[in-house]
């Protein structure tokens, strides 16, 4: 039977980009169905109102939302739609997905992350497993992502450095803020290895893409220069240029229709005019954000899949992951510096790009010996002025702060110190209390059930987060920072999500096989962060890119 396309990809972000690009370059016909609109570099400005105060790049919550379920003190669970709570779980519904708005802190996961269970043993209440592939299987694709996406950095030897097939990054590090000298010194004093953080940001131009303009506004903003390695800038534009790839924006897929053999035959979607459409393809690839991928497959029941595609063993949507950890801040007061130093510290533009991996694995009695830790990243406080000022709206008594008091507080917040922050990333252990299902009541504007997400976490995550946070505070203290504080909680960061369709060798305990193909569906792959059974202790994007390149090679061999 004739199919409309060789490959139909649902979603266009980091998980989708490599498959789209690789298959188009091979001359296969690729159709991309992206729910959001198509912005280009010229549309992206440094406008806090657009990026962060309003839902410009994400849906209006009344139209499309999630239902979030949180645990009460008595152990029961309460759920609330995000249109009521305002807790927005969208990250970027546009061509290129949320990779347009990432900061691009890029880390490889490490060999032991692929065998967390074998290396560190089980933890009660956590569904830890080994991955069905090894670091060696993934390494060539981490490397490929470095050149294809454009990752800048510099390798410095340290005890937890993962093996590499190339000596160093293809792009040198981006420019650095003067505060890194203070960080490096403090780390050296503490006998720690201060590491340059690799970034998916070009330090030198790459083909049509410009290098970074150092505007000082990166995360949360679309990149104007093309330096940020979004799937759009790094992969999709070239894919379209092959003439084999068609991107259809404003196309919301609501169901994958499968036949009596259990194969997917059509993607059903609503177009920009909200008219129902359908398209057929030989192979379907879903990569539309961990939560939404599980939601789409759960909604795609068929003759061989009565509870959703790939859900014959009730694994779909389970073991959702976020990133555990927390963040902290220390202040460096200009009044305590000479004029030259103060002026250097006020620099806006270059990056901090420093992190610590000294405790990626560690040994500690409190943790029963050998344990898995994570990474610490240092960064300046986000320069967005409105959000910075909003903190001054309330006084310590919880009353509104206005008049001359407010103005005095604003002046202090904005002009008296440079604030160095840190963020801790450690494993969000997979548990039975973190999963996606379909909400029985709440629908999106097209009438489809929205995803309900239970947001449970494992206590162990907090213990590790606090351990690392204390180490990071030590560095700030050594640097002479004032007013050091940090916060570690089980509240999930909505922009760091994975899991829900874990891959594995056993259909009874996983949704995808080692190739990221749905076990009992011959022509359906999942290539976003959903495949990850455990998350590693780093932001996910590089791993998502690498895995999508890996699966692209597998798909190439069969079409």
């Amino acid at each position: 039977m004739n199919k409309d396309y060789d490959i139909c990809v649902i979603g266009s972000g980091a998980g989708a980009g490599p498959v789209i690009s690789e298959l188009s370059k091979q001359g296969k016909s690729v159709l991309v169905l992206e729910k959001g609109p198509w912005f280009t570099e010229k549309d992206f400005t440094k406008d806090e109102m657009a990026c962060c105060r309003h839902s410009t790049y994400t849906p209006k919550l009344e139209d499309e939302q999630h239902v979030l379920e949180e645990e009460n003190n008595d152990g029961s669970w309460s759920s609330e739609p995000t249109s009521e709570s305002g807790w927005d779980f969208w990250n970027g519904n546009v061509v290129g997905g949320s990779s347009n708005f990432m900061s691009g802190y890029f880390y490889r996961i490490k060999p032991k992350d692929f065998r967390l269970l074998s290396e560190f043993g089980p933890i009660k209440g956590a569904n830890i497993v080994d991955w069905p592939i090894s670091y060696d299987d993934m390494e060539p694709y981490f490397t490929k992502a470095e050149t294809e996406i454009g990752i800048s950095g510099k390798i410095i030897a340290h005890k937890h450095q993962e093996p590499r097939s190339t000596k160093d990054f293809p792009y040198p590090p981006t420019s650095e803020h003067p505060i890194v000298n203070k960080i490096d010194k403090a780390c050296a004093d503490l006998n720690l290895t201060s590491l340059p953080t690799p970034r998916a940001v070009l330090s030198t131009p790459k083909e049509k893409r410009n290098s970074c303009e150092y505007s000082g506004y990166c995360g949360s903003y679309g990149c104007h220069s093309g330096a940020k390695g979004s799937a759009r800038a790094a992969l999709l534009d070239d894919a379209v240029a092959t003439g084999h790839c068609e991107i259809r924006p404003n196309s919301k897929v609501y169901k994958l229709k499968s036949n009596s053999k259990g194969q997917v035959v059509e993607a059903l979607y609503y177009d920009a005019d909200n008219k129902a459409q359908s398209v057929s393809a030989k192979i379907f690839v879903v990569a539309c954000h961990a939560i939404e991928t599980s939601r789409l497959l759960l909604a795609s029941d068929g003759p061989r899949h009565p509870d959703g595609l790939g859900n014959n063993y009730s694994q779909l949507g389970k073991n959702l992951l976020f990133s555990a950890g927390g963040s902290g801040t220390g202040e460096f007061h200009y009044s305590e510096m000479d004029k030259l130093t103060a002026s250097a510290m006020k620099t806006r533009g270059p990056f901090v790009n420093r992190g610590l991996q000294d405790w990626y694995y560690f040994d500690d009695k409190e943790f029963g010996g050998k344990a898995k830790g994570g990474v610490i990243d240092f960064l300046l406080r986000h320069p967005n002025p409105i959000s910075k000022a909003m903190d001054s709206k309330w006084n310590d008594e919880g009353n509104l702060n206005w008049g001359h008091n407010l103005k005095r507080d604003l002046k202090t917040v904005f002009t008296s110190s440079q604030d160095l922050r840190f963020e801790v990333f450690n494993d969000w252990l997979p548990t039975d209390n973190c999963f996606v299902s379909l909400d029985p009541k709440t629908k999106d504007k097209w009438g489809s059930a929205v995803a309900k997400v239970r947001l449970g976490y494992h206590e162990h995550d907090l213990k590790v987060g606090e351990f690392l946070s204390a180490k990071a505070e030590n560095v700030l203290r050594q640097m002479g920072a004032k007013n050091i504080r940090s916060s570690v909680s089980g509240s999930p960061p909505a922009n760091l999500v994975a899991g829900g369709c874990r891959f594995g060798n056993d259909i009874k305990t996983s949704v995808l096989d080692a190739d990221c193909k749905v076990h009992d569906v011959d022509n359906l792959y999942v290539t976003d962060g959903s495949f990850m059974p455990t998350g590693g202790s780093v932001p996910y994007t590089w791993t998502i890119y690498a895995n999508s390149f890996r699966v692209a090679d597998i798909i190439k061999q069969r079409v």
């Binding site: 959001g36 609109p37 912005f39 549309d43 400005t45 440094k46 406008d47 806090e48 109102m49 657009a50 105060r53 309003h54 839902s55 410009t56 790049y57 994400t58 849906p59 209006k60 009344e62 609330e80 249109s83 009521e84 709570s85 305002g86 807790w87 519904n93 546009v94 303009e213 505007s215 000082g216 506004y217 903003y221 404003n250 006020k346 806006r348 990243d377 960064l379 320069p383 002025p385 409105i386 000022a389 909003m390 709206k393 309330w394 919880g398 509104l400 206005w402 001359h404 407010l406 103005k407 002046k411 904005f414 002009t415 922050r421 990333f425 509240s491 909505a494 922009n495 760091l496 932001p539």
Partner: protein, 208 residues
């Protein structure tokens, strides 16, 4: 510390439970008392009439000018607010609530001080506003006023506030680039640019 954001459902409950000091008025009464903004009035501070006259006074009280820093009028906070309330996506409930609040404000001023709000001295203005703050609906109204003020102070001048970057200059803020043109304001960008719901960036990790 941030006060937790009042969610939409709670907001509706608050309106329903509003105290006598910040009265709940019937639908019919609400209609008759609702002051409709005059579309022909320009966006400067000249020839203002209510509700804008009172709102401009409230803004200046909440964000007063002094010798070294701009006040609400200097940053064109009223122009910003009116632009935002006129934005195609602005929730009509919110707009109505803001305007309705002016009626309540003046009712309370007259009740307590026998004068409308703009005629009060600074101390009396403060006491009226703090009294308003003590009711939940009133607190919500003032919170909105403050939010729009801070946005007027620090958003790109393309939105009508932060006149000639005066807010950025006062706080020594270095803006990014490029800045938006009038065609790139958030409500003109793309298909999805149609929400005025404030995003609550709770525990979003920056280094992602």
């Amino acid at each position: 510390m941030n006060k937790p954001t009042i969610n939409r459902r709670q907001f509706i409950q608050i309106i329903a439970l509003a105290s006598t000091g910040w009265p709940l008025i019937s639908q019919a009464e609400k209609k008759s008392r609702l002051i409709t903004p005059d579309p022909s009035s320009d966006l400067t501070y000249k020839n203002l009439s209510d509700p804008w006259l009172s709102i401009a006074e409230v803004q200046e009280h909440l964000f007063p000018a002094d010798d070294t820093s701009p006040g609400a009028k200097d940053i064109y906070a009223l122009r910003f607010l009116r632009n935002m309330l006129d934005a195609p996506d602005t929730d009509s409930e919110e707009k109505e609530f803001i305007i309705k609040g002016v009626g309540w404000l003046n009712d309370l001023s007259v009740k307590d001080h026998k004068k409308s709000f703009i005629k009060l001295n600074s101390n009396d203005k403060e006491s009226v506003l703090r009294k308003i703050e003590s009711s939940r609906a009133g607190s919500r109204w003032l919170n909105l006023m403050m939010t729009y003020l801070i946005e007027a102070l620090l958003s790109d001048p393309v939105y009508g506030g932060n006149k000639d970057q005066i807010g950025w200059q006062w706080l020594e803020h270095i803006p990014g680039f490029p800045t938006p043109t009038t065609e790139q304001v958030y409500f003109k960008l793309g298909e999805q640019a149609n929400s005025n719901s404030q995003r609550r960036n709770r525990s979003r990790r920056a280094a992602s």
